[in-house]
């Protein structure tokens, strides 16, 4: 029973812009956020956070807090040191990585502002928060380490004194040593053009709209944790391991989750503190963070210094690339934090073919909030650096930035293409996407306008930015993850339960938090089994119903989980086929599944549906001899390769050279994410991703002062763009199916965020090139732009 034999697409759901099932409750307030939950006898947890970036804890006295109204318990890190465990890092990227303990609550030393120091449980949230003021903590200052490069110098003050160094790891990839290409030394020696640049990926904060919240109920047979998390399955496994609780005694539920963007891809201190607290008092406990708590303690993203060198011929053909990263881990290693730059390591070569590549990354500890995955996780950083320096190469040689890319990119006829990193790019058509983007953007007209404005000395200059990107999606082949020392696999699972009335329950191991899996998965199942879209219910995010899965991040859910779902549906059909044959009194081999019905081949009449078979199985009065009375099926799919979406984004900005103000003028995004299940959802993902990338380019930065205080601890200071800061984006798609994937899909969650940051900054720099400017530090705020202009004017 193969896909080629069956033609199950009866309902035409896949590819249709279905309005989302999820919306009905979300637009009417019938939501199940973790914070909504109230349980009998539930206590509220408040956490006292360190005001110091680095200090020894001399004394914590919770005695007075215990006497405050409503307070039931108060405890410090030292009080729970024996049971709180250490937060996990699942990606120790090298054998000799320096991996310090990460207690959920600091025990004897705090290493970043906002680190948890003590906790109070009280009958109301207000009482719990009030009582924090009664906790006395005595600190002794330690030197604060903030600058990554200073941290690596000999004799530097240490974040973890016991470790003897601030360097966590050095990870190297060399195409010459790996045998996937040549060595960069010879490539650079003979090159006519060598460019060296330093770029800075500023520190960002994922800033999901729903603050993190966790409820722990220790009163049942299983300890149940509700959490605003992207990773209920990984969380369950790690909770069991960290707290030494039998795994079958832990249940994790991710109810409605309000965004993540990697920021909820974490096992958090707050989850562990709530878990420990609930066990300590034997009552349900809830913790919901304030926005300020969130900004200071939920993991941050990016914060990487990129030193990049590119060698090329005089015709602009790239000969080699050398990348040295200094990546800020913050004070501790996050769940996948050390691996984030490594994900990027395979993407600096981007869509280009060149023979030699070397990548080296040092992970560094500082007295800041720990960093980890943020939308794109390593790939936006890589794409930014290569796309910025490709523009520099174009300028160096007097070429149009599109032309220099054309001279280096992989031709559509060259796929599958093995990159200099040894990855096999599955498919793509960079020419088609770029041609379409150029057409939609009216590239020539904008260039002409730019020339005119330059000639007239207009104080408002026009800049045009190009970004041609690819990314590796569909995380991930388990063997590859193993070779990179990642602590888990990359498979995904789906189960299909066929109910007696023919309705379908799908259980997925993915864990959506805004992506619309309920809708897209229903579309897929409708086509695969010939059932109505509305007759499919998608269940997820509760380890009691969905006991297995690797959750949602890395644009993996459809690219990997979608295959598992199709395979599970195939198995349902395989089970139903002999039942249908029995009911039709024919040989199973004579049946084909078309338009949602098993029919005798060549006979368009009659037939049996999945619902007919499920009712027959439910009654079980008349089944073939030996047949199991069950149509349910499960599949686990481990991808054999990543998928490689790509696209071309073009951005035009107007830069006021007198004020430094950057105004978005137009933005075109042509993405190729393979086949599309729901174009409405895909377009929404592109919109949101592009805007998050624009936010990095123009608006957002997490800033610490010299003492390690986060200056951007509210939405007043950490400036997410509003509708008024943005413009409409013109989107279109080219469609190169993912080969070997039954749906041909590639993944779209991170594409926009990967592509847009370099497109915007390239545009800003392009506007200012006549002034001798070739870089603006992100974010390109009026101040940063204005200062760059003043410095050039002074020079």
């Amino acid at each position: 029973m193969t896909m080629t034999e069956d033609r199950p697409a009866a309902t035409g759901e896949v590819g249709a812009p279905r309005r989302r099932k999820e919306d009905a409750r979300l637009i009417s307030g019938r939501t199940a956020w973790t914070e909504n939950l109230t349980l009998p006898g539930m206590l509220h947890l408040a956490i006292l956070r360190s005001p110091m970036a680095h200090a020894r804890i001399l004394r914590v006295d919770t005695g007075a807090a215990l006497r405050e109204p409503g307070v039931v318990a108060a405890f410090s890190g030292a009080d729970v040191a024996a049971v709180q465990g250490s937060l996990p890092c699942a990606w120790p990227v090298t054998a000799d990585i320096v991996h310090p303990d990460h207690p959920p609550m600091a025990v004897d030393e705090v290493r970043h502002t906002g680190e948890a120091v003590a906790a109070v449980l009280a009958r109301t949230r207000a009482e719990a928060v009030d009582a924090l003021a009664a906790i006395e903590v005595e600190y002794a200052d330690l030197p604060v380490v903030l600058d990554m490069e200073a941290a690596l110098a000999d004799g530097a003050d240490l974040v973890h004194a016991g470790k003897g160094t601030n360097r966590s790891y050095t990870w190297v990839f060399d195409s010459g040593e790996a045998g996937t290409g040549g060595s960069v030394g010879p490539a650079f020696d003979g090159a006519e053009v060598v460019l060296k640049r330093r770029y800075r990926q500023q520190r960002l904060i994922p800033a999901f709209m729903e603050p993190r919240s966790v409820v722990v109920d220790p009163t049942g047979e299983q300890i149940t944790m509700w959490s605003a998390t992207q990773i209920p399955h990984i969380l369950r496994f790690l909770l069991a391991v960290i707290t030494n609780t039998p795994e079958h005694k832990v249940r994790v539920i991710a109810p409605d989750v309000g965004g993540g963007f990697g920021g909820k891809l974490q096992v958090t201190p707050e989850e562990l503190i709530a878990f420990v607290a609930a066990k300590r008092v034997g009552k349900p406990v809830k913790y919901t963070e304030s926005r300020s708590d969130s900004l200071i303690s939920a993991h941050h993203g990016r914060d990487v210094i990129q030193d990049i060198e590119l060698a090329a011929t005089g015709e602009g053909r790239v000969l080699g690339l050398s990348v040295k990263l200094t990546a800020n881990m913050g004070a501790y290693l996050g769940l996948v934090g050390p691996g984030v730059p490594i994900l990027g390591a395979f993407m600096y070569n981007a869509i280009y073919k060149f023979p030699a590549y070397r990548f080296e990354c040092q992970g560094v500890f500082t007295n800041t909030t720990f960093t980890d995955a943020y939308r794109g996780a390593g790939r936006p950083e890589a794409t930014y650096a290569i796309e910025r320096i490709m523009d520099e190469l174009a300028v160096e040689l007097g070429l149009d930035p599109l032309e220099v890319r054309r001279r280096n990119w992989i031709g559509h006829e060259e796929f599958p293409f093995t990159s200099v990193c040894g990855l096999t790019y599955d498919s793509g058509n960079y020419e088609a996407a770029t041609d379409r983007a150029v057409e939609l953007f009216d590239y020539a007209a904008l260039r002409a306008e730019q020339v005119a404005r330059r000639a007239s000395g207009d104080p408002v200059q026009l800049g045009i930015g190009v970004s041609t990107y690819t990314e590796m999606c569909g995380l991930a082949p388990s063997r590859v993850l193993g070779s990179l020392r990642y602590g888990a696999g990359g498979w995904e699972t789906a189960s299909v339960r066929v109910l007696p009335t023919g309705k379908i329950e799908v259980i997925t191991g993915t864990s959506p938090h805004g992506q619309g899996h309920d809708t897209a998965w229903s579309q897929i199942v409708a086509d695969q089994l010939g059932v109505a879209f509305d007759d499919v219910e998608v269940l997820h995010g509760d380890t009691r119903t969905s006991h297995k899965g690797l959750d949602t991040y890395g644009s993996r859910s459809l690219a990997v989980g979608g295959i598992a779902l199709v395979q599970a549906c195939e198995r349902v059909r395989d089970k139903a086929r002999p039942i249908a044959a029995h009911l039709l009194e024919c040989d199973p081999g004579d049946l084909e599944f078309t338009d949602g019905m098993f029919r005798v081949r060549g006979n368009a009449e009659g037939g049996k549906s999945i619902a007919d078979c499920s009712l027959a199985v439910f009654a079980a009065h008349n089944l073939p001899d030996g047949a199991e009375a069950n149509l349910d099926a499960e599949a686990v799919y481990d991808p054999v390769n990543f998928s490689f979406p790509h696209g071309t984004h073009l951005c035009a900005v107007e830069v006021d050279t007198e004020t430094g103000q950057v105004r978005l003028r137009s933005y075109v995004a042509v993405d190729d994410v393979g086949r599309v299940v729901n174009p409405l959802i895909v377009e929404g993902q592109v919109h949101g991703g592009v805007v998050q990338g624009i936010a990095q380019a123009l608006f957002e930065e997490a800033v610490y002062d010299d003492a390690g205080n986060l200056l951007t601890g509210t939405f007043v200071d950490y400036t997410l763009p509003s509708a008024a800061d943005l413009i409409d984006i013109v989107t279109d798609r080219t469609e190169t199916p993912a080969p070997g994937h039954p749906l041909g899909t590639k993944g779209v969650g991170e594409a926009g965020a990967i592509a847009s940051t370099p497109a915007v900054v390239n545009a800003v720099v392009d506007a200012l090139r006549p002034m001798g400017i070739n870089d603006i530090p992100m974010p390109c705020t009026p101040e940063h732009v204005w200062r760059a202009i003043q410095e050039r004017s002074a020079a």
């Binding site: 989302r20 709209m209 965004g259 993902q685 998050q692 939405f715 509003s722 509708a723």
Partner: protein, 174 residues
């Protein structure tokens, strides 16, 4: 404790509240109106936006994290849970958000929809620029706002057409 009487989504509630209690906490924790959410605590994100009558009885959008419950005494409050018609029919703004895929995770959505209702009441025929300016106080991290702007434009048109609770279906996305 202070005695207050607030009509929320058509039902009058009499409660004793601490003077410091915020309206949003009163709605969520005392009245169980958890459809209205808290996003930022600093009145930047607008996720908690509800409609409240002012001294003249006019319904205006307020950020319920920036209103004390005692300030709502004697007022009528409309939350996302009370926006649909009595027959359960969606409000034009709700319907347009669904049609235009103007939400993803949905956390900002209650506030965004209530702010849009307020905006359309004040300006029945807003330009896209006016919609963007009008929603400046409501943050969304998922959508990039583009489909929200479309939805508000559609909902305004549907409202102008005099549809009340949703006789006019916004144009589907092409």
């Amino acid at each position: 404790m202070t005695r207050i009487s607030v009509t929320v989504d058509g039902v009058r509630y009499d409660d004793d509240v601490e003077p410091r209690t915020l309206l949003v906490h009163h709605l969520r924790e005392r009245l169980g109106k958890v459809g209205t959410v808290v996003g930022c605590d600093t009145s930047n994100c607008g996720a908690c936006t509800v409609l409240m009558t002012d001294a003249d009885g006019t319904r205006v959008g307020v950020k319920s994290c920036s209103v004390l419950a005692v300030q709502a005494d004697g007022r009528e409050v409309t939350t996302i849970e009370g926006l649909a018609g009595a027959d359960g029919g969606l409000h034009p703004v709700q319907r347009a958000f669904h049609e235009r895929h103007a939400l993803q995770c949905g956390y900002c959505t209650p506030g965004m929809i209530m702010a849009a209702v307020d905006l359309i009441a004040a300006n029945p025929d807003p330009t896209d620029a006016e919609i963007r300016e009008g929603l400046e106080g409501n943050l969304c991290r998922c959508t990039g706002y583009q489909n929200i702007v479309c939805a508000v434009r559609d909902a305004a048109a549907a409202t102008r057409a005099g549809s009340g609770a949703g006789d006019v279906v916004p144009q589907p996305v092409s």
